[in-house]
Symmetry: C2
Subunit: 434 residues, 2 copies
């Protein structure tokens, strides 16, 4: 059978991993598909310094993406440049030209995925995005096909490798967040501007995509409650461990009687849960189905080759569909029709909470705080105080029984007005149901 | 678009879970596919006592599977009766009649999967078998599509829920294997004849299927080195814990310079590995790829509804292909052409080993054993002896540095001839690379 011709746009980390795998595994690809994939064109802003494997020597090289997406010699375009403006133009032009597209672009897909999918349907082509979330974990394939027969009721993820790396380093070393971040930046594990990672925005885009897939709802990332990890201290890990928990940046999507509740926030999770074993830059997704119950998926979150595997696997699937002349594709969103998402505020959700205070050591602190909890009808669960010499900023922790987020927020606001508070209280939900 | 019509053969555990999910999620299925699935016929040996959901009241009922597989009103047959003789006849007749088949039958697929797949190709229909291994984990979809672009170098699995349940109970309770097995039988977690589970044969069939998928080789289960868990005692867990390990029935497939090495056997695995967290009746698969590195998949190994999700997800995929009129299917074996498996004996593989002895307490034991190790050029790593009062059958453990299985087997045979040995030594590999 004749080959399917690929156009690769972008030779950064993911692009270079992709072409390396395509070059090294061409025999396996042909064995699995029954026909070869050929890289017809590669595009990079700057082609000098780019290593192109010898096996791809015959491919056309260009610095103008238009030459790739408009070429009659390209069947499938892999958009691997990232960002939203040019990437969107590339994807739209390719789809408009009747070419299928494979993308690794989480921001683009979180922002405009459903519209781009509608465009692909109109043109009878495919749009594949396995690489856009949790590079090494084939979670799209799992949600779109592997467990498509289940009814998903909850999805939890550790979706940002950088913040997970920082949290596990703070946990292991006991060093402060800022020091660990600086070291991560020095080692190239964190960006010079770490906002997208440590403030939760990257994870939020990924949760938007996975929730659309899992629940068939059109979800805008900006509607997701998002909190970063900057306030987590080594002390929080000490207290969390005392409570047999650890702390992770948890992306959560839960179908509740009130509707779908989405959040990205640091949370306490039991040490006994498999999610607590996700260390360093790894990613993981935990899915709870009505019928299949709990399944768990774990792997590299990023990296040229793990993400390249996702791109190549998508290219193989799309190529197979092109060769079969099949007009029937599987929506990357698992549903062809996405319902509009009516966001339900996290305020309604009930959770046990961990409240960590820094106070001036003086009599009457517990009484004052317990009084505010009582006024807000919040039941106190435990008061914990590990040894500390710092009498001017003494840490201690109160855990409370399940209460609504709204009640907790109100109580914490009242507590923060007390004169002995050195800094605002830190309130973290405890995901005891994991 | 018009419906796709299903024939369900078998209303045992998996069949009843399947029709319940089909009945309860029909709206979601139609939303995802764009057309409905209709259960046209159900077949069970005995239809009395079978609960058929009200939503499926219009379906034809029969006790003769021929009525289902020969019916012009059935597009896809789900073979859910298990066993090999009749099941094979059902699958072959259905494929012969040009109907696609979904099966949950691991024995049948391990024995005759590649031949049945050849038959499906000839007839231009599909054969799907996600439910045949690790019911709740969509591992077929992952290997066939999700990470199809990777080159798999190793696969480790905990694939038998019953034996994992028994091992974790022995570990937690310290009770003897026989007592835990008897209790598991009383609770219905183990069969009256537990051989298939505790002697590793069930896991072996599953490993044969997964290895064919992962490595593109035609693998006969009987060529897989297989050892059961009957000799594992609470004492082994005590020693394993002392070594920061635990013990699991590990299904392993490794691509080595010598070839593919397959085994099903109890092994020591580090406590820190995520695989060590697989408790009770859960299943897990760990895949190591050349490019994507490590990924890990975890879920229920069995149960009517988790396995039903796998069947329904397969039915949806097959129905989509039927509706699209696509002649191009994805081989359940990931490769359309399976190479013949040339088995490589486990004898060549090098591992650290755990050797546990039961001896009559007398002087000279360590010297005698160390002498045999030295004769076989095996380097001793540690000698461990936890307190014990039983001087007539004293347990103790030697761990040795990586040595070939052949060398270990020879040394153990020599040790077993020593007069102070109360029972043959137990030799378990230590999977330290996990």
């Amino acid at each position: 059978m004749t080959e399917v011709k690929l156009g690769i746009v972008g030779l950064g980390n993911v692009g270079s991993g992709t072409i390396r795998i395509l070059a090294e595994t061409s025999a396996q690809i042909e064995q699995k598909l029954g026909f070869p994939l050929r890289v017809a064109a590669v595009c990079a802003r700057n082609l000098e310094n780019k290593e192109i494997p010898a096996a791809l020597a015959g491919s056309r090289r260009t610095t103008d993406w238009r030459e790739v997406v408009n070429s009659p010699d390209v069947d499938v375009v892999a958009e691997l440049i990232g960002g939203v403006t040019t990437a969107r133009e590339i994807v739209e032009t390719a789809l408009g030209n009747g070419k299928s597209v494979v993308t690794a672009n989480k921001e683009l897909m979180a922002l405009t995925g459903p519209e781009l999918w509608d465009r692909a349907i109109q043109k009878g082509v495919n749009l594949a995005m396995e690489a856009s979330v949790a590079g090494g974990i084939p979670i799209h394939t799992v949600l779109r096909e592997g467990i498509s027969g289940d009814r998903i009721v909850a999805l939890y993820g550790i979706l940002n490798g950088t913040s997970n790396y920082i949290l596990t380093e703070v946990e292991k070393s006991g060093a402060a967040f800022d020091d660990v971040l600086a070291e991560a930046q020095r080692l190239g594990y964190a960006e010079a501007d770490p906002t997208a990672d440590v403030d939760g925005f990257d994870a939020r885009s990924k949760l938007a995509i996975l929730s659309a897939l899992a629940f068939g709802q059109r979800i805008e990332a900006r509607n997701i409650f998002t909190q970063g990890i900057r306030r987590i201290t080594p002390i929080d890990f000490q207290y969390a461990h005392t409570l047999q928990h650890t702390i992770r940046l948890v992306c959560a999507a839960r179908l509740t009687p009130e509707g779908l509740i989405l959040s990205v926030r640091p949370a306490l999770i039991p040490k006994s849960t498999i999610l607590a074993n996700v260390q360093g830059a790894y990613n993981a997704v935990w899915v709870r189905g009505k019928y299949g119950q709990d399944t768990f998926y774990y792997g590299r979150g990023a990296g040229p080759e793990p993400t390249g595997v996702a791109v190549v696997s998508d290219l193989m699937r799309v190529a197979r569909e092109i060769r079969s002349g099949s007009p029937e594709r599987v929506s990357p969103f698992a549903h062809d029709q996405l319902a509009e998402f009516r966001p339900v505020s996290v305020e309604v959700q009930k959770r046990a909470y961990y409240l960590r205070f820094q106070v001036k050591d003086q009599p009457g602190i517990i009484a004052a705080l317990a009084g505010i909890l009582a006024e807000n009808k919040i039941s106190l669960d435990a008061v914990l105080q590990l040894p500390s010499d710092n009498k001017r900023s003494l840490p201690f922790v109160i855990t409370v029984e399940p209460s609504t987020e709204k009640t907790i927020t109100d109580a914490v606001a009242a507590m923060n007005r007390l004169e002995f508070m050195v800094e605002p209280a830190l309130a973290l939900p405890m995901e005891t149901s994991l």
